[in-house]
């Protein structure tokens, strides 16, 4: 005989899970009891939401679903923000939540919450387990659903009596039963031909790279496609890093906080080839305005994304990796030398704000560019949400590493836990988290996690003592009525980090940057660099 908790641990091991991020509680204790002797490493976060973000960072590096665990009630509900964040950005997660005993379900007992109901809009699928013999099948299905097709989070709610209940392993359900789930991966050959023809006809074609390219691990196929076909490309925030920043065919990030030459390219294009992007409002604020002057090719693994926000001329359902290889193989070839020259001029004419500040204070754009140039080529940069995100997205030089952020949901506090997850997924790679003082304070409890579990992440806090992005918005749209955006001078972030056991330093002058960045990146353990800037530093 075997218990539900034993079946769960065995099923996770079968999926080669070796790290779990979680926070225990009474309703999940039977699982933790089994976990203690399983050989699976458990990373104890300080708040459940961060177990989800850490798992997200882990999954984005390994490319496989990562596991986060919480107890019933508040533990499970705290996970929701992380699930929503992962769902928006199509990150494969397995969330396991404890639940009250099945005989008490629905009676509003202590720490009971309908988590499958509450998380429904933010999960690709969810299970409420009512029979321990289902566990092997459910875990297998959950991993398959989370990582196949368009990836996303899957939640498994496990009542405590199911964890302790015994069943005969011979009676276990093992066969996957998902008759309604058949994701398409290969592009339709007819549509591939139409795309190739459209590329040949276009005068001003443009590739728009979304997060789907990275989710499909199709960076190589993308570069080959753009180079072979001679196509210029721009990226959404989620697509940053798919092409090296300095690639001749690459024209930066588009959108509200994007490069003017990238937006120029989108506006002027007569053929847009969108790959793995949702055409969200931050990327293209008025998508329908494009339909008139450009043919739209939309390539996505999720058919429901095609035509959702933008009318499509040629829909192409499939996995980015497969479809890009198919397009190259089909001989896609653009004739747009003039257009490339035009874009090149636009790019050359753009003057980024890398200006020296007269008071000797730090220009965050220059600072973040320097950080990225000091980082190793294959390193991982995790940025948070707010001005720091735009500064990072616009100014880091990607050279084959990864750029992680909460793109769709814009969840503050993502960077530190996600960096912990990313570092644990690939300890050999440098991992730097960039956050503002606002986003830092949303997950500063995780400094202790990094120290306790010896996760040598490097954290940069750009401290302007305010919620800069909101402040800027109030300046622009609310007649400068700055309200509820000042964070004041508490806490002393450097002292706080030191108290948690990180090597911490603070700088406020431009001439201190180079040395401080070196010291940060060379630190043995987890380290933090607080970079104080003026609250008047603007996003563009």
């Amino acid at each position: 005989m075997m218990t539900g908790a034993q079946a769960l641990v065995a099923a996770l091991k079968k999926q080669n899970v070796n790290t779990i991020f979680g926070y225990p509680g009474v309703a999940i204790c039977s699982f933790y009891d089994e976990l203690s002797t399983s050989g699976i490493r458990h990373i104890l976060v300080r708040q459940e939401q961060n177990s989800g973000h850490a798992a997200s960072g882990y999954a984005r590096i390994t490319g496989r679903p990562a596991v986060c665990v919480a107890t019933s009630g508040p533990g499970a509900v705290n996970l929701i923000t992380a699930l929503a964040t992962a769902y928006m950005d199509s990150i494969p997660l397995i969330a396991i939540t404890g639940q009250v005993s099945t005989d008490l379900l629905g009676r509003d007992v202590f720490q009971e919450a309908d988590i499958t109901g509450a998380a429904e809009p933010f999960t690709k699928y969810s299970y409420l387990v009512k029979n321990p013999a289902e566990i092997p099948r459910i875990i297998d299905e959950a991993f398959y659903i989370a990582e196949s097709g368009r990836p996303g989070p899957v939640l498994i709610d496990l009542p405590i009596d199911i964890q302790t209940a015994e069943f005969d392993p011979a009676a276990a359900q093992v066969a996957r039963h998902l008759p309604g789930y058949r994701p398409t991966t290969k592009g339709h050959p007819g549509q591939i031909k139409r795309v190739v023809a459209a590329i040949a006809e276009a005068k001003r074609p443009l590739v728009c790279i979304g997060g789907g390219v990275i989710a499909a691990n199709a960076q190589t196929e993308l570069q080959t496609f753009c180079e072979t076909a001679g196509l210029p490309a721009v990226a959404t925030m989620m697509g940053i890093g798919a092409m090296p920043t300095a690639h001749v065919n690459y024209f930066g990030m588009l959108g509200t906080h994007g490069k003017p030459y990238a937006n120029y390219a989108v506006k002027q294009a007569d053929l847009l080839i969108i790959i793995g992007a949702r055409v969200g409002d931050r990327a293209v604020s008025a998508p329908h305005s494009l339909e008139g002057h450009a043919k739209i090719v939309h390539i996505d693994i999720d058919p429901a994304e095609i035509g959702k926000n933008l009318g499509t001329t040629i829909p192409l359902v499939g996995d980015a990796k497969t479809v890009l290889a198919q397009l190259t193989e089909a001989g896609a070839q653009a004739n747009c030398g003039e257009w490339m020259d035009d874009l090149d001029d636009q790019r050359r004419l753009f003057r980024p704000d890398f200006d020296h500040r007269h008071d000797g204070s730090i220009n965050p754009k220059v600072f973040l560019r320097s950080v990225s140039m000091s980082m190793e080529d294959d390193s991982i940069l995790v940025c948070d949400v707010g001005q720091n995100q735009s500064w990072a997205a616009g100014n880091v030089l990607m050279r084959g590493g990864k750029f992680l952020t909460s793109g769709g949901m814009g969840t503050m506090g993502y960077s530190i836990p996600a960096a912990i997850g990313a570092k644990l997924a690939d300890p050999g790679r440098q991992v730097v988290a960039v956050c503002g003082d606002g986003s830092f304070q949303m997950s500063m409890c995780e400094l202790a996690t990094a120290v306790q579990h010896h996760v040598p992440i490097k954290i940069i806090v750009i401290n302007n003592h305010s919620l800069g992005m909101v402040l800027e918005h109030q300046d622009l749209c609310y007649k400068g009525n700055r309200y509820a955006v000042e964070l004041g001078s508490s806490p002393d972030i450097t002292a706080l980090a030191a108290a948690c056991g990180l090597q911490a330093q603070r700088i406020a002058k431009a001439d201190q940057c180079a040395e401080a960045i070196d010291r940060l990146l060379e630190a043995d353990g987890p380290a933090l660099l607080e970079c104080v800037i003026s609250p008047e530093e603007t996003t563009p």
Binding site: E120, P121, L128, P179, G180, Y181, P303, A304, K308
Partner: protein, 166 residues
């Protein structure tokens, strides 16, 4: 425009809530929704009547298709499908009006299934437009209560939704 969507889903807990949640979340209209078991007890058929422009209906179809529990989906055209709805109407009827109500029911081919000193209950199954008409005609007699099932529909002829459980 009203469209009838036939959806085969796995017959298990939570599916109805997932479907209705999807409609609410994405701002799709549900005019009616009827669910029941099919010839295969593992499969339920939902017949959803939704209103929206072409783009919205396409999105409804795609979002429903995306659901893990959805097995097959088909838009049913009015001309090529048999659509039916069942209604129970309790209408005021005393000795002076009872005959008139019974006459109306008879014209529709409806059945009188219950009677009291002051009411009649009429049962009728028909195309949804005809059901609406029956309601309109009975309204002057003061309707006490109505229960409608929502539309169910099947394709005409030998065509089916085209799904077989393996």
């Amino acid at each position: 425009m009203k469209r009838t969507i036939s959806v085969l889903v796995e017959n298990k807990a939570g599916v109805l809530s997932r479907v209705s949640g999807l409609f609410a979340r994405r701002g799709f209209n549900i005019n009616s929704l009827a669910v029941g078991e099919t010839e295969d007890p593992a499969i339920s058929r939902m017949t959803i009547v939704s209103e929206g422009d072409e783009h919205t209906i396409e999105q409804v179809e795609k979002q429903l298709n995306k659901m893990i529990d959805t097995l097959k989906i088909k838009l049913l055209e009015d001309g090529s499908s048999t659509r039916r709805e069942l209604i129970l109407i309790k209408v005021e009827a005393d000795t002076s009006t009872r005959g008139e109500v019974i006459d109306i029911a008879r014209v529709f081919g409806a059945k009188v299934v219950d009677i009291s000193a002051t009411t009649l209950t009429v049962e009728h199954s028909d195309r949804p437009e005809r059901i609406d008409l029956l309601v309109d005609l009975l309204r002057p007699y003061r309707i006490q209560e109505i229960a409608r099932t929502g539309t169910v529909a099947l394709e005409k002829g030998c065509g089916t939704i085209g799904y077989k459980n393996k």
